[in-house]
């Protein structure tokens, strides 16, 4: 940013800015000012793709409308304000690290855990899922607008069962054809069953999330086209800690999911085509490739580093409490409060005893994701816990708040 600031104080206009960013081409930065822009990423790195998306949100001209398409390697993306311990089975993420014999590695290898900057719930990304983002001016924004655009794209590929539901997600209606409906209505299909208690919930193929700033509105969504991992996704998104955690923050609304069974290329072409039609640009829209080269831009590099950092991933968690009280097999009642991803308080009580042991003050501030051994940490947290109890309790916490191994930080 230093280079850019120096450029700003001269205040002679945009030209100065461009000189500062040497490696990315002049035309790429000019493009940020165009009224309609379309990008596709060649990278499978979720941290990079989200950083490029964020850069486009911050730096594109306020009146412009942008489409970005990207595909990620297997990764779990949690919402801005979610709790990874609650939403994700963290033990499965690093199969090499985990030492519990009963959990079988599903064979996906390393799965990244990413906290995005938009709201909403947790989703699983892999190469059978295409992500789409539209950035536009707030006055033109509604929550459904671009979900409808994607539904029209799907319908143009023959997916006539797709529609936008009340939660702005895209679902595939199941069952028999019931009625003729207006083909332009993106919220109804000929297969839509009206509300009733016996209604089968149609599987979700795309979920949406939003980020709204003063000048820009970002809407991004997934699209499950041909994921080979549908049957193991539930394992990743089911945390053993869930019944034991009380938390504030947005919980994911879980829905049955399904594949559309369309190729990535077919979908990408259809979405681009609908986007072109909607934002008809007299010049014709060029679909620009983005990728690792964009790491040369300092804001992208900074955003990338932030998204990869464990601080961002774990310390942005809203306050929560984890307690053994709901687990009948636990012999001790232990409760820990975690604020900003670090222990802020807690107590321990032997079952059947009235005496409460408070958390040792020196443990306040211990970052949960930095804990390397629960039995050791527990003996520091609470005085007078003997060997067997410590071991048992340690194993319980290890299951609930798994120790985080070092993650690979290589850009693919």
């Amino acid at each position: 940013m230093i280079t850019l600031n120096r450029a700003c104080t001269r205040a002679r206009g945009c030209q100065q800015l461009l000189i500062a960013c040497r490696r990315l081409s002049q035309s790429a930065l000019d493009r940020l000012a165009q009224p309609v822009q379309s990008y596709i990423s060649t990278s499978r790195d979720p941290y990079l793709n989200l950083s490029i998306e964020h850069y486009l949100l911050q730096k594109s001209a306020p009146e412009s409308t942008i489409l970005l398409l990207y595909v990620n390697r297997p990764s779990i993306i949690i919402g801005r304000n979610q709790n990874p311990w609650l939403e994700v089975n963290l033990a499965l993420l690093n199969p090499i690290q985990q030492s519990q014999p009963e959990t079988e590695p599903p064979g996906l290898g390393n799965v990244d855990l990413v906290r995005r900057r938009s709201g909403g719930g947790t989703v699983f990304h892999d190469e059978g899922n295409v992500n789409w983002t539209v950035i536009c001016p707030p006055k033109a924004f509604t929550r459904d607008k671009h979900a409808e655009m994607v539904v029209r794209a799907l319908r143009s590929c023959g997916v006539e069962r797709s529609r936008v539901n009340e939660r702005h997600d895209i679902v595939l209606d199941q069952g028999e054809r019931i009625a003729d409906v207006d083909p332009d209505d993106t919220h109804l299909t000929p297969y839509t069953r009206r509300a009733g208690i016996w209604e089968i919930k149609p599987p979700k193929v795309s979920g949406s999330a939003y980020k709204l700033t003063r000048q820009r509105a970002l809407h991004h969504g997934t699209c499950l086209l041909s994921s080979p991992n549908l049957n193991i996704i539930p394992d990743y998104l089911h945390s053993p800690a869930k019944p034991h955690i009380t938390a504030r923050g947005v919980e994911s609304v879980s829905s049955p999911v399904g594949n559309i069974l369309l190729s990535n290329e077919h979908f990408i072409d259809a979405v681009r085509s609908r986007f072109d039609k909607m934002y008809h640009s007299s010049k014709g829209i060029e679909h620009v490739e983005v990728g690792e080269g964009w790491l040369d831009l300092e804001p992208v590099q900074q955003g990338y580093a932030e998204l990869k950092s464990r601080e961002w991933t774990f310390l942005q968690t809203p306050q929560f409490t984890i307690s053994t009280s709901a687990d009948p097999s636990a012999t001790m009642e232990v409760e820990l409060t975690v604020r900003n991803g670090a222990i802020s308080g807690g107590h321990l009580r032997h079952r059947g005893s009235a005496e409460l042991v408070d958390l040792d003050e020196r443990s306040v501030g211990q970052r949960v994701h930095d804990i390397t051994s629960w039995p050791e940490t527990l003996s520091q947290m609470f005085a007078g816990v003997d060997g067997t109890e410590r071991h048992r309790l340690g194993a319980w916490f290890e299951r609930m708040l798994p120790v985080q191994g070092t993650r690979s930080r290589m850009v693919e």
Binding site: A33, R80, G119, K211, A217, R248, V250
Partner: protein
Amino acid sequence: MRTLLLRACRPLNLTSTSRLQTQLLHAVSLRSLHTTHHLNIVKPFLLADIGEGITECQLIQWFVQPGARVEQFDKLCEVQSDKASVEITSPFDGVIKKLHYDPDDMAITGKPLVDIDIQSEITEEDEAKLAGGGGEEGAGSAAKESIGEHEIRVEGAAGVDVAEPAAENPGSQPTHPDRRRSSGKQDHSSLATPAVRHLTKEMKVAITDVRGTGKDGRVLKEDVHRHVAQSTQQQSTVHTPMQTSARADRKMPLTPIQTQMFKLMTRSLNIPHFLYTCATDVSSLTTLRKTLNISASSPDQRLTQLPFILKAVSLAFQHHPLLNSSLDSTDPAKPQLTYRSAHSFGVAIDTPSGLLVPVIRNVQDLSINEIAAQLRQLSEKARDNKLAPSDFSGASFTISNIGNIGGGVVSPVISEPQVAILGIGRSKIVPAFNQQGELVKVEELVFSWSADHRIVDGAECARCAERVKNLLEKPGKMMVEMR
């Protein structure tokens, strides 16, 4: 100069050169307007309606702290509501005085978010936004996310603040005609500069009445003066805008009682209610009361029907404890039913601020006189707004008496975790036949029992209702059941 530099150093959008110019000129012109009214007041800035019927959102992080100096459009905080993460910016220049929430708290729409010591001109428009008027829907287009929307409108107004309008950049031009096409108060922001609007306030003129001769129909100071000179004979025209605005719809945030009622009753939607009504002959009860009240020491020591009814219900509950139980259905697969030993009756009271339901505890151990005394105490406290949260907690059953207003058959709504509720209307004299077949006058009061059909079946509820009826129709029966 320092302020100007700070504005210049903010990351520039590539097409915003001319906006930068207008912003610089805005900063300058604020200073030149310093000689007129400079408002220095601390005002709470309310969390605007972000649409989608969302009433609260979680505060994720603050970008400012108390004491921080902010300029218009500086980021204040980030909030999250279900799927959307939203950045909220300051509409004013000023100093942050107080943050109303901690990170992770739920911020409520329409309630104060921060207190700002405002150090720029504010107008009636901006005041309305402070009073929670930020929920207007789009300027013609379908823009539903009003936070972003209303910030843009304010920005447009600021850009207009220059005597010599700078060359407007083509990007923002389309927004102005859109805004003017919309109806109602939104128009004002594009019709005049803050200085002119302040003048219209001082001269007590409605800006919509003034014909603007400036660029794009903008109202200038001369226009206002001219209008005042002309309209001294036309006093009535000033009043009409006020009349129409008095009939306009008002968007109001829910009062605390309404909010609580909304939450509670929404949960009650899960309960399958059935209604059992029972007409009770309270003539004997009334005769008894009249006798007792003759020897009452003062008018407010007189016994009403309600203490008798409460005691009769408590006596009936000795035989029908199911209606006094609590249902915990947080896990729908494993509902937990608890038979409560204490009869803690919530008594619904109508107060000027709305419905309140304070609780009388251990009715099974109280005499009718004691119950009456407690009722009187609770009413007084309710009137004086002295009820504490502890007065409302732990009811096992509720009685709702609407009789002082009216009512025959009513259909009351059960509050969880209770499983039943009794509603009482107003008694009235009706014709009936006595045992000899003669027509007599009878004072009839309808008891409307509502119960949760997941736990209570019709027969059990009916048996309890009939028992209460019998106890009240022959008050002597209550005497023999008393402990």
